[in-house]
């Protein structure tokens, strides 16, 4: 059965090209993926991300539970509203999912997990929580709209008035504010594009009217196609492409999200420490194609004497007007590699992502 978000009717009415994404019927684009990409880099665009799953974790055991569950340390969240990006690992250190956890107040947290992994995640979380004094609630009643771009906050601010508007506009990056309980709104200054903006969670019934008001405010509807090129330019991993249960965060460019300082026990820690002690065999790097062509996922990468690797995500970068990729390569890989595209070996430069940040190229071409 194909799932539909509360905004599905809007997408159809706007003439979106719809595709299956993790079981959800989602907009790929509304006419031109390139234009949508540029709108987000230059102005403001929005994405229906209601297929992602909010999970509320509450109770006296919430903090110790999340500190065991996640590779990043939730104890770092001391201020109400602060957000933390983390991987959730299995015992082998493999990435079950990547997620954002928000600190909503004492003993109250919200996780936002990927759509395609939500069912698996919930089973894992509930099993891990079995004997704990916790409530875990899947918020399938919540819709999510990501408004992104240099003008996104200004355009979105018209949705609110008075103290709510002030609270939203005064958010620092990676903080959230909320009001009105389950009938209100949860607004976070987060995103997946490398641009400023908000991710707005709200009751499903409010999603359509909010979407319409954002359209009226000049925010361009954007599909998952542009979301993918934007996140790849921003050097952000996509779960299932750039990491999965067979890779550790250390092999996925996510060592910065793993808190190994202190004695905290968390699932996967022993495997990560063993891997680090033995030396990492592989690393995730950015590639900039020197030749003409388009890098795609699962192309073979030749790193000379260091060995071979594989691209994990690849696309044409609308901002750089070049092709870019993320690739998992041998740890000893140098500054230049070749990529097999349809039997031809094309030259690519090894770079450190992000490729683009806040509308500007950060990789010299």
């Amino acid at each position: 059965m194909t799932l539909e978000t509360p905004l599905h009717g809007r997408h159809v009415a706007l003439g979106a090209r719809l595709v299956d994404f993790g079981g959800w019927d989602m907009p790929l684009h509304y006419g031109s993926q390139l234009e949508e990409h540029h709108r987000v880099r230059r102005d403001a665009g929005m994405f229906d991300v209601s297929h992602m799953r909010a999970v509320d974790v509450a109770g006296p055991a919430a903090l110790p539970f999340l500190r065991r569950l996640l590779a990043n340390d939730v104890a770092r969240l001391r201020e109400t509203g602060k957000a933390l990006y983390s991987c959730m690992l299995n015992e082998r250190g493999g990435v079950l999912d990547d997620l954002i956890v928000y600190f909503r107040g004492p003993d109250r947290y919200r996780l936002v997990v990927n759509a395609g992994t939500a069912t698996k995640d919930l089973a894992w979380i509930r099993a891990a929580a079995a004997a704990e004094d916790l409530t875990i609630v899947e918020r399938i009643d919540v819709a999510m709209i990501a408004v992104q771009g240099p003008n996104a906050r200004e355009r979105a601010a018209g949705l609110w008035e008075g103290p709510e508007r002030a609270a939203a506009l005064s958010l620092e990056p990676f903080y959230a504010t909320e009001w009105g309980g389950d009938d209100g709104a949860f607004v976070a200054r987060t995103g997946y594009t490398g641009e400023d903006g908000f991710e707005i969670m709200l009751p499903a019934a409010a999603a359509g009217p909010t979407w319409d008001r954002l359209v009226a405010a000049g925010v361009a509807p954007c599909g998952l196609g542009a979301r993918d090129t934007l996140r790849l330019e921003a050097g952000m991993n996509l779960y299932g492409n750039d990491m999965d249960e067979s890779t550790t965060p250390l092999e996925a460019g996510l060592a910065w999200t793993v808190a190994l300082d202190g004695p905290r026990e968390f699932t996967g820690r022993a495997a990560l420490e063993a891997q680090r002690a033995a030396g990492l065999p592989r690393k995730l790097v950015g590639l900039l194609l020197e030749d003409r062509g388009v890098l795609r996922a699962h192309q073979k990468v030749y790193a000379g004497a260091a060995g071979e690797g594989e691209t994990t995500s690849g696309t044409y970068s609308p901002t750089l007007e070049r092709s870019i990729a993320l690739a998992r390569v041998p740890a000893a890989t140098g500054a230049a590699v070749e990529v097999d595209i349809r039997g031809k070996r094309l030259a690519a430069r090894v770079v450190r992502p992000p490729f683009v940040r806040h509308g500007k190229a950060v990789i010299a071409s």
């Binding site: 090209r17 790929l28 684009h29 031109s32 993926q33 390139l34 990409h37 196609g225 090129t229 003409r292 062509g293 388009v294 795609r296 696309t315 044409y316 609308p318 092709s323 349809r342």
Partner: protein, 132 residues
């Protein structure tokens, strides 16, 4: 959705068009329907000049932001030209699929082979059937 289908061209089920040139060569591209379905085209690779193609050979590639798609030789023959202008401006395939967006030219092995291709009406029928 209706698409532009010039009556003087021949077509294939795999969405290529073929134009008969006065010098006996043919020019090949992808149809308006195909470019629309692919979306924003960012790269095109055409067959090397001199290459001998059999009908149905996957010999060119058109890449949109999202994916790569093969383009097939509608008839057998020798490649006599590729559209080098697409290197800097692959979007011409979107904006002018039957003109500046052409892909390559071929000297057909058998001029009569064009007769086996679809005319505009036949291709329109293919599109209508695939839309059902």
């Amino acid at each position: 959705m209706s698409h532009n289908l010039p009556a003087d061209l021949r077509y294939t089920k795999s969405h290529e068009w073929v134009r008969q040139n006065p010098d006996g060569t043919v020019t090949i591209g992808i149809t308006d329907h195909a470019q629309h379905a692919l979306g924003d085209i960012v790269f095109a690779e055409t067959p090397e000049v001199g290459r001998e193609l059999a009908a149905g050979d996957a010999c060119a590639v058109v890449e949109s932001v999202k994916a790569a798609s093969d383009v097939y030789a509608p008839v057998a023959g020798r490649v006599v030209a590729g559209n080098g202008a697409l290197g800097d401006a692959p979007e011409k395939i979107n904006t002018d699929p039957y003109g500046d967006g052409w892909l390559w030219q071929l000297a057909p092995a058998d001029a009569a082979a064009l007769g086996g291709l679809l005319d505009a009406g036949g291709y329109e029928k293919v599109l209508a059937e695939s839309a059902e």
